[in-house]
């Protein structure tokens, strides 16, 4: 249980770091980085900026959730329930079937790479980002399928 509480603290820190990075990226893409001649149009750049802001919001939400859970440490019953949900073998089985975390990391990498490429080459940028988004959607569908199957 102590290990679980430390894990929650670690998630809060990671969520905080991700929110800060996303906020910095939002500022940089809006005010600092200048696209090349072959770069994506304003539409794609706007998408990248929006994605960075969305990431910041998701990171903040993740961090707030982790902090709320960490505060629930005062309730032993709630902590035990959260711990059981975290360690549940069926959920671990479903996650492994859906390719977590490797596929998630791969998809996130593709989306980030696509965001960077938007400043250089439009077509490649959109193709890479679409691949990343497709992987995320596919993974969610597979997870849903196995959640119903098992």
């Amino acid at each position: 249980m102590e290990q679980f509480k430390k894990e929650l603290d670690r998630r809060v820190k990671w969520g905080r770091a991700a929110a800060i990075i996303a906020a910095i990226l939002s500022v940089l893409t809006t005010f600092v980085f200048k696209p090349t001649e072959n770069a994506a149009s304003d539409l794609v750049l706007g998408f990248v900026q929006g994605a960075a802001m969305g990431l910041a919001l998701v990171a903040v939400g993740y961090m707030i959730q982790a902090m709320r859970v960490r505060r629930a440490a005062n309730s032993q019953e709630l902590m035990e329930k959260l711990y059981r949900e975290e360690q549940d073998e069926r959920q671990a089985f479903i996650r492994s079937k859906a390719g977590y975390p490797a596929m998630t990391i791969g998809a996130a990498t593709l989306v980030c790479a696509g965001a960077v490429l938007a400043f250089f080459e439009r077509t490649v940028s959109m193709a890479v980002m679409a691949s990343g988004i497709f992987m995320i959607v596919y993974q969610l569908l597979v997870k849903l399928y196995y959640s119903r199957k098992y």
Partner: protein, 78 residues
């Protein structure tokens, strides 16, 4: 490719005999209510440690809770 067979069990009957809810049994054996539900209906096969904890909670041996006769039939087939 060999087909994975689902192991049948008496968990639901035993749970009702002990007047336990799925949540209470889940808490007792360290898993979630959804997992207990899936095991009871035969959708999910519990791992050996979880099967052991469930059987121990009811004071029975694993083979008294889970029906492995179908598994033995599959292994016996050529």
């Amino acid at each position: 490719m060999a087909e994975v067979s689902q192991v049948k069990n008496r968990i639901k009957d035993l749970r009702k005999a002990h007047k336990l809810t799925q949540e209470e049994l889940a808490m007792a054996v360290g898993t979630t209510r959804q997992t207990i539900t899936s095991i009871e209906v035969g959708k999910y096969t519990a791992s050996l440690p979880l099967a052991y904890r469930i059987a121990r909670h009811f004071g029975l041996a694993i083979q008294e809770v889970f029906d492995f006769s179908q598994e033995e039939g599959n292994h016996g087939a050529v």
